[in-house]
Symmetry: C2
Subunit: 332 residues, 2 copies
């Protein structure tokens, strides 16, 4: 059976990667590529043929089985009612519906069963959150996580195609000895680090930083988990890295944690990557597994563990996770 | 009075910066530039004239008042007895003597008084440690720090001149579409992040990571302080950044902490850097102040505070701190 799938926002970095994931996961499907009016007619290769981009309208979703959303919140909010009314299931990468009680927020390896309790919308979590949760889920299953302190090292692709282009242009300007003029980021990103992703909340945290707690609680089914986070953009193309300290209810030993991480689906314990026992963002780009290394005892708390993880922000952090949710639904 | 000062390791990144700092701090001095045999005869501009590099030998230190050391541990250990015997005071940037009971470990703004209790050797702390301690010292004076969780974003200059050259060469290879071959770092550093600085200890931490606890305790006079740290190299030239969460004995409010940070010598609270309320590494390069931003409550502990700080690794993290120790000694 061939599924009818619309990709909403098909011309963006995540939308294009969703097409690649539909190919990679061998989803038997006919795809409608939707974007704003200015992209109409754009041709995108897919499955040996090509997709001709159509304008997304309220009528675009009739007859679709699934809609993969790779647009900003306002567009997701605009089209969601029409998608749900059409009877399609909307797997949405925006943050618009993630915390709604009647919308499951799903990382298939962690809480895949939640996906089936949907009312037409399933939310794909934030990219750093997916990658961090993949790294700590195995530990959380051994003992509930009480607190987590995380610092991120985030790729420019998290800011979309314009983020990628801003770094590329700045690298060229740097090499040419020309003035560097940021177009997407609030400061120079090449040879720099910017500790500000998202918008400020009243508590001094950014929206991106709060997602780790708010979305992490929902994914792990641990509503009391306390998370404090610092989100930092660095000049890396597409994999996010996160240094995390988790404190669990009971002590989990390093060996126990490593064994559980190694056994967890979609996660690889870094043991020998070109002789290194830790991943770097480049090691994990263009594929779907999250890599974990540097697992060691937290020196500030006997029940704490520290680790370092990396995962491709566009793949597992966005497009691949969405297509994995789709695959889960059609396989069951 | 003009002081006779030898700079040991004068041809390296830190050694050269020590000369600039001697100029910037207007130290009235005659400088002898010492290095290994292969650099003999190299001319380095200084104070309008130039220094001709001499080979460091056991006899190099006779008649010197101070020796600034910018060499590796083995060289510091080799020459220290001769320096002390000559009667000069050795301000050493290596880690060879930092934890010795009879060697003060000094950040002048924090524990300058310790410098006077020396027996001929004063140690300059690790670069990330200096910058982090500068950022948290104001809070520690309000209430002792019980625990600290830190993640670093470290510049390539921390690996010396060869680290700088490795990034520069990798950037060129990237732009030329050529294969990237790391010469100093254990993996590609351009467009990447490497969570491994220093050598592994038995507890899974690196030597660099343990310095923050071991040296931090000594600088702050807080021998019970527990610190857990993840040290990460990123493609930034010369300023280190550190995201830190500190838990203090009593609760320190965000406003109280900000006021104390703002009043602390050598530290600037970032309030408006081109409209931003946080520093980036580039904002803090080529100068000596440590900049602090993102001060906010730790969401995992009512007595915790989170902050982000940046400081020039070659200046305050190494050369400037050493010259500030020298200035303290000759001013008193």
């Amino acid at each position: 059976m061939s599924y009818k799938i619309a990709v909403l926002g098909v011309t963006g970095a995540v939308g294009r990667e969703m097409l690649k994931c539909l190919e990679d996961y061998k989803i038997d499907c006919v795809v409608k590529g939707l974007a704003s009016a200015r992209s109409v007619g754009t041709k995108i290769p897919f499955n040996g043929g090509e997709i001709v981009v159509e304008e997304a309208t309220m009528d675009s979703f009739e007859g679709m089985d699934y809609v993969l959303g790779a647009v900003e919140n306002d567009m997701s909010e605009k089209f969601a009612p029409a998608i749900v009314k059409s009877g399609a299931v909307f797997i949405d990468n925006s943050s618009a519906f993630r915390l709604n009680d009647d919308v499951p927020l799903v990382v298939p390896e962690i809480n895949g069963e939640d996906a089936f309790k949907n009312n037409g919308i399933i939310a794909n979590p934030n990219c750093s959150t997916i990658i961090t949760m993949m790294a700590v889920a195995a530990i959380a299953k051994l003992s509930p996580i009480k607190t987590m302190v995380s610092c991120t090292y985030q790729a420019v692709s998290g800011a979309g195609q314009k983020g990628i282009e801003d770094l590329e242009q700045q690298e060229k300007s740097l090499m040419a000895g020309e003035k560097i003029v940021p177009t997407k980021f609030p400061a120079q990103i090449v040879r720099n680090a910017i500790p500000n992703i998202g918008s400020y909340k009243d508590n001094g945290y950014t929206s991106e930083e709060m997602k780790l707690q708010n979305e992490g609680r929902k994914i792990l089914h641990m509503p009391e988990m306390l998370v404090t986070c610092t989100c930092v953009r660095i000049p890396v193309m597409r994999s996010h890295s996160i240094a995390t300290t988790v404190v669990t209810e009971r002590k989990v030993s390093v060996e126990e944690a490593k064994a559980a991480i190694k056994a967890f689906p979609g996660v690889q314990l870094a043991e020998d990557i070109d002789g290194r026992d830790y991943p770097t963002p480049l090691d994990t780009s263009e594929q779907d597994d999250v890599f974990v290394g540097r697992v060691r005892e937290d020196l500030t708390n006997p029940n704490g563990l520290c680790l370092w993880c990396c995962g491709d922000q566009i793949r597992k952090g966005a497009a691949a996770n969405a297509v994995q949710i789709l695959k889960l639904l059609i396989t069951k």
